[in-house]
Every structure is written in C-alpha cells, then in structure tokens.
C-alpha cells in the first residue's frame, strides 16, 4: 500500500493535466467543432475530397460516415488516442523507470517487499490514475453523445467512451515493458513521445494498407468507437488482440522486474 500511495502522490499531477487536456479536447471537438462541421458540410466535403486518399487514410478521415456523430468522433478519436497514449506512456515509463532514473534501485529493492508486490503496486497506481481520468472522460462523452448519436443506448455510448481507456491500456503495457527492460531512461517525456509516435505510425500504416490483416497494425484503431455507437460492440478479433498483446507485454515486464539483476550504479 505504501508504494501504491507513494506512486500516486508522485504521478497524480501529471495525470490530472492530461485528463484536463483530454476533456478540453473532447468538449472543444464535440461542442465547438462538430456543429460548425455540420453547418459547412458542402464546403468541408469539397475540401476533404481534395485530399489524397492516402492522406485521408493516414489521418483517419473516412468520408462515407464522417458527418454522423459516430464518424466524426471516430475521426477525433485518433487524436484523443494520441493524447491518451502520451498520458499512458508517461505513466508507465515514469513509474517503472523512476528508480532507474534516480539511480536508487538499491533503495527500493533492499526493502522488505517482494518485487512482485512492488510491480503490482506501481501498476495499480498507474491503472488508478488512468481509470480516474477515464471515468471523467467517459462520463462527459456519454453525456454529450446521447443527444447526438440518434438514440443509441447509454450503454453503447459508455462503451464508445471507454475505447480511450482500452487503447491506453495497450500503451501502458508497452511502456511498462520498456520501463522495465530499457537499461537507461534519460527522459520520460522523450520516451513517451517515442512510444506514442510509434503507435501513430503503426496506426497510419494500418489505415493506409486496406487489407484486413493490416488493421492489426493500427494500435489506436483497435477499438472502433463508431462501431460501438452503432452496434454496441467492438471488433472482437481486434479487441482480443489488444488484450492478448497487453497481457503478454505485462507478463514479460513482470518476469523481467522480478528476476532482473540490479547492478551497481
């Protein structure tokens, strides 16, 4: 419990800032941009039509549905996912490289606590902060989507809102993995940007290549918010892939954390 509380105290400010940014983005897009987007539909269509097909795919612009609330949010979600990924990777990398960066692995690892306990305390702290941020995000999203999504049940809106959390969990698992296995982490911000951008490049690549298999590359597209709003479900193979990848990354990180050697600094 002490490690969990310690990590919460050290990380809550950063998480709060990211949560505020995500909420501000969501509100700005749905309340500010979406009505304007609908009002200037004809001119927007002309502009978007002028974009190369590859550009549209890479940046998540899918013309067939972009003027529905689900389609618009689906477009916005790519950028919410990028910000969410930055938050999750900052948390994962920050918490799991904290002692490495401060060169105080000896301090923590010579305390009477098993490494497994330390690992789960840190992970739980990261999950708590993500869950808190997403509770607010999903609540706001649900409240805003209900009057705009053509009578979709509230449960479907909650599911679509929680796509951000599920996407963040994959990134959290990856950043925990890197936090454990990287020998040196000089800057959490730089590492988080690298992980986030790697996710974006994979997603753009997955969207560009049109075959079904390539969709598994699109990390930020594993949880289709438009599908959730329309049918109350996610694409099962993609969701299962996300869950399996997260589990494998976390299991590997756990083993590495518990069995790793702490060399002198």
């Amino acid at each position: 419990m002490n490690v969990y509380l310690f990590e919460l105290r050290r990380a809550w400010k950063g998480a709060l800032v990211w949560a505020a940014v995500l909420l501000a983005f969501l509100i700005a897009m749905v309340v500010g941009i979406y009505p304007m987007f609908l009002d200037s539909r004809a001119s927007m269509e002309a502009v978007i039509d002028g974009f190369p097909k590859e550009f549209k795919a890479a940046f998540g612009v899918f013309m067939d549905d972009i003027f529905s609330f689900g389609g618009f949010y689906s477009f916005c979600f790519l950028y919410a996912a990028v910000m969410g990924a930055a938050m999750a990777s900052s948390l994962g990398l920050g918490l799991f490289s904290r002692e490495k960066r401060a060169k105080c692995m000896d301090f923590l690892m010579t305390k009477p606590a098993s490494r497994g306990r330390l690992f789960f305390a840190k992970l739980l702290a990261a999950l708590t902060l993500l869950a808190a941020a997403n509770a607010a995000y999903t609540a706001v999203f649900t409240a805003m989507s209900l009057p705009r999504s053509g009578g979709a049940p509230a449960g479907w809106a909650v599911l679509a809102g929680s796509a951000l959390l599920f996407t963040q969990l994959i990134i959290l698992a990856a950043s925990v993995f890197f936090g454990v296995f990287l020998k040196k982490v000089r800057s959490v911000a730089a590492g988080a940007v690298a992980i986030t951008m790697a996710g974006f490049v994979l997603t753009a690549l997955g969207n560009l290549l049109e075959d079904r298999a390539s969709r598994f590359l699109a990390v930020y597209g594993y949880f289709d918010v438009n599908l959730a709003l329309k049918e109350g479900r996610f694409d099962a193979p993609l969701a299962l892939t996300a869950a399996a990848a997260s589990a494998v990354l976390l299991a590997a990180a756990y083993v590495g954390y518990c069995r790793g050697e702490i060399r002198s600094v």
Binding site: N2, F6, R10, R98, E99, A102, K103, C104, M105, D106, F107, M109, T110, K111, P112, A113, S114, R259, E261, I262, R263, S264, V265
Partner: protein
C-alpha cells in the same frame, strides 16, 4: 523463534564462542570479549559470474551474532558482488547464502525486514525532503520509526526538512545512514560506508555503529581502507580476485609474530632471503620486509650480518595486508 523477528521460524546455527579483542571506538571502549556464539550470516561456496566474467568464486564466510566482520580487498575484488548477492539484488550462480538461517533468495523479504544496508554511493528520488524519504523508507517496516529517525538525525546533525538534492555529498550520506539504521536492524551491511564523510563525521559514524553493535546488531563492514576495518572489526576476511584468501581475527592479524623489519648493512646486499619474510625490498645496504615466524630465527639470520642500523616494529595492517597479497601471488 528469533529475537526481534516475529514470524521467523528459522533457527540460528551455532558456531561456538568466538573470543574477540576489546575494540576501541574513538575513545569509547566497546567490550567485545564474547561477541558471538551464533551464526547470523553464512555463505558456502557462494559463486557469481556475470556471463563469463568473474564476480566471486567459492566464497565461504560466517558472521556471528554481535560480531563486526570486516571485508577488505581492493576495488574489483568482489566485495560489492558478495554483498549484492546477499541482499538479493543479483542472483547467485552457485553455492549457498543464508542470513538468520534463511535462504537469501527464497526468504529475501523476511531477511530484509531485519537488515540495514548502506551502499557506497547514495542516490534518492528527486524533489524529496529527507524526512519524506525517511518516512517512506520507514513505511516498509512494521514498527514506528519516527523517534528513531529524530534520534539519528540529532546524532548526525542533519536537517531533515531540506531537499535531498540540495544537500552536500556528506549530508546525503547521512540520510543513507539514517535510512539504513532507522528500523534498528539485527544485521547491518555497510559497503564502503565512509566515502563522503569528513573525519569528524566518520568518527561519529563509527561511534554509531559501535552503539548498534552494543545493542546486539551484527555488522558486515566492507572497505578497501584497512585503517577503518582495523578501527572497529573483530574479524576480517581478505578477498582477492573474487576469492576469500584469508579470514583472521584482528588480534591475530596484528599479533607479534608479524614484525616490520628494516636494517642497514655495512655493505650493500645483492639479495636478502629469509623464510617467513615477505614484501622484501632491497636498496643497496637498506633492506626492509614483513616477517612472520620464529623471532629467534630472525635474530639468528640478522646476527650473521654486519649492521649499521636495525629497526623492528609492529607493522600497520596495510603492510600486513600487502604482505598477504604478495604471499598469495608468490604461492600462485
């Protein structure tokens, strides 16, 4: 059941009474005549390789309850590797290591509850005040350590409200000392502990360790500075190239059988040999060496020479240590 360790069911093996010298702690005399009857720490053939690189090989060591055990050797000899293996920071390649009768890897958590560790260099989290770091450290132990933290800070004259990153190296070390001792551990492991401490604070530190020892704590004191070890230890293990080459009581190491001999002959000597002499240095008529053996044999050998001057004195531990090393190298 071990004293002070609720829940520990391992028994402490007995190694028999070890008679140690009374030792002087900067003026404070600690009575250590009968300092140990039980084994607190034991290694058997403890071996650690980093890939193909040698760490330690077949290290055998026993530390009795209430004993201050020195561990000396040059940098890279394997002192820190031994300590890190004992603390479960690195995994042994072979052999056995037990503390309080418990396995250092399997029972690490139970062991660490009663072990205090001070590394040679101390690093802590950024942005924390000393008091916050110490409270966090204390939160791992099932006891209230706040009074002890205040007591130790008073002894070491440390301002607990200062941020650690703003502290001098010496003050950071003091934070390390307090965090290593705040839970009144039964075994204190010190890895080159005095680096960064000024002489006055070193004295205070040794007094503190002496008090902990009087309280009943055993100490593993690793250093490459022999005078430190000489100052407080009952026994000492000498490690070289990853192997323990000797374990001796401090009194034995300094006993009169060791002599530092220097003489000036009337005529230059090409070479000088004597059984029991080591670290022989010849410079024309001047000869010096460390001698261990029958004093009559030494006198008989010197009587055969025509001397201008002769000096026989007690060697420093450093010189005995170097003699050890050169002797082992010659044997190899």
């Amino acid at each position: 059941m071990l004293r002070g360790m609720p829940g520990l069911k391992g028994s402490i093996p007995t190694i028999g009474a070890v008679r140690g010298p009374p030792f002087i702690l900067c003026g404070a005399i600690a009575n250590a005549e009968e300092y140990s009857v039980k084994t607190v720490l034991e290694t058997k053939k403890l071996t650690k390789f980093y890939g193909k690189s040698r760490g330690i090989i077949d290290v055998d060591m026993e530390i009795g309850e209430g004993e201050i055990f020195g561990f000396i050797g040059p940098n890279g000899a394997g002192k820190s590797t031994t300590i890190r293996t004992l603390l479960g920071l690195i995994r042994k390649t072979g052999g056995e290591a037990r503390i309080f009768g418990l396995d250092c890897e399997k029972d690490k958590v139970r062991i660490l509850a009663e072990v205090g560790y001070l590394p040679s260099e101390v690093f802590y989290y950024e942005g924390m005040r000393a008091i916050d770091l110490l409270r966090y450290s204390a939160s791992f132990y099932r006891k209230d350590c706040s009074a002890r933290i205040r007591e130790l800070a008073g002894i070491l004259e440390l301002d607990l409200n200062k941020k650690i990153e703003d502290m001098s190296l010496g003050n950071k070390k003091k934070v390390g000392i307090i965090q290593g001792l705040l839970h009144s551990p039964r075994l204190i492991i010190l890895d080159e502990p005095t680096s960064g401490l000024d002489p006055l604070m070193q004295r205070t530190f040794f007094e503190l360790i002496g008090r902990e020892n009087e309280r009943g704590a055993s100490v593993l004191f690793s250093s490459h500075i022999l005078s430190e070890v000489q100052r407080i230890c009952h026994r000492v293990a000498i490690i070289k190239d990853g192997r323990i080459i000797s374990v001796q009581k401090m009194a034995e190491l300094r006993q009169t059988s060791y002599k530092k001999v220097g003489f000036t002959a009337r005529k230059p000597l090409e070479r000088f040999e004597l059984e029991g002499a080591s670290d022989i240095k010849t410079d024309g008529p001047h000869v010096s060496f460390i001698y261990r053996g029958d004093i009559n044999a030494l006198i008989a050998r010197l009587a055969g020479l025509s001397l201008e001057n002769l000096d026989i004195s007690e060697p420093e531990l450093e010189e005995i240590f170097m003699s050890f090393y050169s002797g082992v190298e010659a044997a190899q």
